[in-house]
């Protein structure tokens, strides 16, 4: 992992890779993240940078890999998945988040995007299923409850370098 990380750094910073930060654009060139629709979110969630430019230190990078590794528990995985899906960082998944999420999944193409009615229906169904307390949003525990029942969440929520 360290090797991969230092590859992302420019040459002159190689020697102090532990303290250096890799900008977001560099991180996104990783083949593992390149195709991921949530790449920006992943960067954002794992970045500890104060300036908010989503750059990653080596520790952040390790963090990310450990969450996406095989040995991470599904609790952790679902926790971070929730954070990744929580686009406005307010601790709950509301309709906007869900819409955003669906759009991320379906891609940018015109024909692949869901129409408004479909989206409405989808979000309605999702909320019906998962929103236990009926407050119109999904919070972390609801999310974890749902996701933990899924048989292949843990197997798909991982990244292998």
């Amino acid at each position: 992992a360290y090797k991969r990380f230092s590859e992302l750094l420019p040459k002159e910073e190689r020697e102090n890779a532990y303290s250096a930060r890799v900008p977001k654009s560099q991180i996104l060139t990783l083949p593992e993240l390149r195709a991921n629709p949530f790449q920006h979110r992943i960067c954002h969630v794992f970045s500890t940078s104060e300036t908010g430019d989503d750059s990653m230190s080596f520790e952040d990078f390790l963090d990310m890999l450990s969450v996406f590794s095989d040995s991470a528990t599904s609790d952790i995985k679902s926790h971070y998945a929730f954070r990744i899906f929580d686009f406005d960082n307010d601790g709950i998944l509301d309709r906007k988040d869900l819409e955003h999420l669906v759009n991320c999944l379906t891609g940018q193409g015109e024909e692949s995007q869901l129409s408004g009615a479909e989206m409405e229906q989808l979000i309605q169904n999702i909320l019906e299923e998962s929103d236990i307390d009926k407050d119109g949003t999904i919070n972390l525990s609801e999310f974890q409850h749902v996701v933990s029942r899924s048989p292949d969440f843990a197997s798909s929520f991982k990244i292998v370098l």
């Binding site: 040995s71 998945a81 891609g107 869901l114 299923e129 407050d135 949003t137 525990s141 749902v146 969440f153």
Partner: protein
Amino acid sequence: MAAAQGSPALRAAKSCKKQRTVKRQTGIYTYQEPPHSNSDDDTGEEKAESHDPEQIFQNIQYQKEIMSNIRCRPWPMRQKLRALRQAKEIVLKYEGRLTRTRGYQAAGAELWKKFIRLAYNFVVIFIPWEMRIKKIESHFGSGVASYFIFLRWLFGINIVLTIMTGAFVVLPELLAGAPFGSTVSKTIPKEHIASAQDLDTIWSLGGYLQYSVLFYGYYGRDRKIGKAGYRLPLAYFLVGMAVFAYSFIILLKKMAKNSRMSLASASDENYTFCWRLFCAWDYLIGNPEAAESKAAAIVNSIREAILEEQEKKKSKNLAVTISLRIIANILVLLSLAGSIYIIYFVVDRSQRLERTKKELTLWEKNEVSVVVSLITMIAPSAFELVAALEMYHPRTTLRFQLARVLVLYLGNLYSLIIALLDKVDSMSVTDSDVNTNASNSTISLASNTLSKDDNLTIPNVQIKRNGFVTLEEHRTQGLTDSLVNQTISFNTQNPQDQCWETYVGQEMLKLSIIDMIFTVASILLIDFFRGLCVRYLSDCWCWDLESKFPEYGEFKIAENVLHLVYNQGMIWMGAFFSPCLPAFNVLKLIGLMYLRSWAVLTCNVPHQQVFRASRSNNFYLAMLLFMLFLCMLPTIFAIARYKPSLSCGPFSGQEKIYDIVSETIQNDFPTWFNTVITYISSPVVVLPALLLLFMLIYYLQSIARSLKFTNNQLRMKIQTERTEDKKKVVQMAVARIQNLDANDKRPEQETDIISQESSARSSTPRKNGSVLNFESPVSKGTRIQTISQSVPQAVPTTDVVRPANTTPTTLTSLTPAPSVSSVQKPRNDHITNRYPSVVHRSASELCKTKPYTPVTFKKHTEDVHSDPLFRKAIRQVNSDALGARAPVFLGCRPYATRYFLVNENESRKKSLRSTSRLQRHFRKEESRDIIELYPRHVRRYVVRTPHQMYSPHPSEDEEDEEELEKEFMNGSHRPRSLSDLRPGSRFYIGDHADGHILMSKDLGRVHYKSWDDGFELDLDRPPYAYKKVHLNYPEPRAKPKSKQKLEQSLTESDSISIESSSDPQNSSNDQYIQVIHTKDKYPKTGAKLTKKKSKTSVDLSMSEPSELVCSNV
């Protein structure tokens, strides 16, 4: 929280707690610390100062726990490292104090862990194709990778099988058996030797290959070989059986493991949409193309789900689809039957050809296996076309497809083996036929010649024809010679040709080879060249090749897996007759692995349909198991039914193959063993054993059934609980609406309340003045008051004024909700509403019980009132509690009220544990005498009110996660029981109360920050709980007057604080002030209460806090 975690032992309890609570609230995402660690933390902190070795040990244990659990916490790496380092430091620091050996142990464990890790890393290198699979996984996702993992697993199994057969059968035969050419069965017949090295013969596995260790026929029949006396025939038989046994065991084991892993995913839970959305993306996908197709698949599945949902309500015209499906099924059945017939026909034809023709062409020799392979290749595609007719849901289509293909494969294998065995039958028949024929013909020929001789000798006169006769004689001589030669050659050739086991083995191996060739060809042709064409011709073609007709080949996971299963089935079927088949299969699998992975990476796109990796694992295995079982049957049948060939193989000369076992037992084991075996195999033992087995099976099955039943019940329970939760939410909503109606009546109610209050305090005029102040309350402030009022009213009821007040209270209790709902964020709705609704419910119950209240001035009225409230929660406890309360009279009443509060929280959670705990608490307090109760009430209230806000607090975070809530309840209960246990030490309790109050203060701040009304509601509980105590005081009339005064002043302060909160209208800023007031009040009242026990200067001290509150306002 993490920081608190990191240095728990080094910090004072208060600061630590403060930090923790603050953190818990501020960071939305901070992990909920499990309650046990919470309490451990507390003890750990105490221990840091104390030097009790046991405590130190516990502390160390706790720190170690942190270390081991640190991976399970979603903190940033930096925090984790820091916490880990600190925990380690502490452990190091204190561990030395205990024992040195423990340190050594730890060091050893550390070393061992490192070594294990190293070893694990080392082992990973040797896992074959790990990197390759990972690469595929990263390109195509886990579905495709599961195919390769399955392939690898099969490869492992085959390696073991190869080792088994190789070590116990092939190697001994090669080393110690009779060398090649020494016996008849090991030599190539003369007329074949010329062609034995031709490619043609080798290709059809004749010639040298036929007479090699590859096949059954080569193995010697000597009972013992070599100097050591290795019993080859026995080993052959046992290994043949062990192959099956091992496969069975390993398969079942793997399946059990898999099913245990996937046990958590109950199929009844329906979160289709959520899963499709939240778990849709496979994060392993790194290839843009794969990502595109994955996205398309997700869109499709989502659309499908939506459509399904929409069409669920509609009914469709099914006639067309049903007829189409029937047609499709007929087609499939026809094609299945056709394939079976073709195979049978081909085998039969080859048989006939062999009989009639001497030289067979290459095609004729390989006809059978080629036809079988062709069918296995073509038929699935045909089925796919047919399946398009049916218009099923894609997943159902896939299932149907798989089932059909599996049936096809099985049919192929079965028809093949049946045809082969048929041939074997006819072969043994012709064998005897040929023998008799040969002898007959020689005899007839001899007689013929004799007769001819006779004929010839008799007409000696006919000298004319002499020359002819001699010529004839010569000819006959030659004929008989040739005939004899022929018969001799027949006799020498027959034993080798008639070795049916070798024949079957040959056929299976041939099939396997042809199958491999076809697979390679199909990969090259269908995938590679198609890919090449599409890639390079798409520029100069009239339509887009990449997206329209030819496209790139899809990687059909299910079909490929089925093919693997089929292949493995062939191996199992043929392994007995051709011991080297597993070895061959190993090679084949290696080749397949490389070829497939290459093909997948270069020229395939992932399957459009989503084939779930986790589910599929067991699915593959189940198919494999099915295949194994069905493949074992014909082999076992052949072994049991057919007589081994006479002149070849290890079992030649025996009646049945398995006779070898009994023979060995008879000859080579001591006699006592033999007798034991005969006893065991006698019906006397076998029948009871069988019966026992049946009984066992029945018993286990019934157990499994009952377990399933309980399982279902539990699931039902969960479901009903969930629906009940939903219902509750709905009820709350209804209550909210009702409350809106009752909103306007508020002012009068309040006056009523106040008047009631005052009546409880032998009404002072000053209070009425405060009532006037209350006339202008708006929304929020009233809530606090009303709640605080409603609960005390619900329980302490001996006042005369009481009956008159009941109606207002119900109304007041209705009021809080609207005010809450009006301001609240939607998110906290349910949390906040719980309380009002519970209160409301209790109040409404009160309404119902109103007729009772006038009648009863006794203590039992309270019971009556509380009863319905309690019944809401847990009936059993209720009766218990009532029974327990009866003898204690006055002193118990406050307790009862308190219990309801606790129960309100707990009943919602429906945890049985909490009920039991309640009972226990009850008994504890019961044991106290009435007089002593008085100070303790107060004290406990001080102690407990924080809990009451504590316990609701986690519920906000946890929502309806029952287990976690239970844990939290546990955590919140513990300190209380501690305080219960130590009633004597006043100082201690005061301290405790302080701590808790500080905590509550923190909470208050936090709540203030988050501006959540729900939290405020919780905060507002302490005042009412507090007041409740005072309202109860008048009842014990035996108390001195000073207490009453104190009560008055206290209630005064309460009402003032309420006032302060009610005056400032909606702004929660002012409520913050109010919260602080309550805080201020608490420590002081605690202190006062201790003073009050000594009964000195009560009034003065009491007036102080109220003044303070006033000034603060």
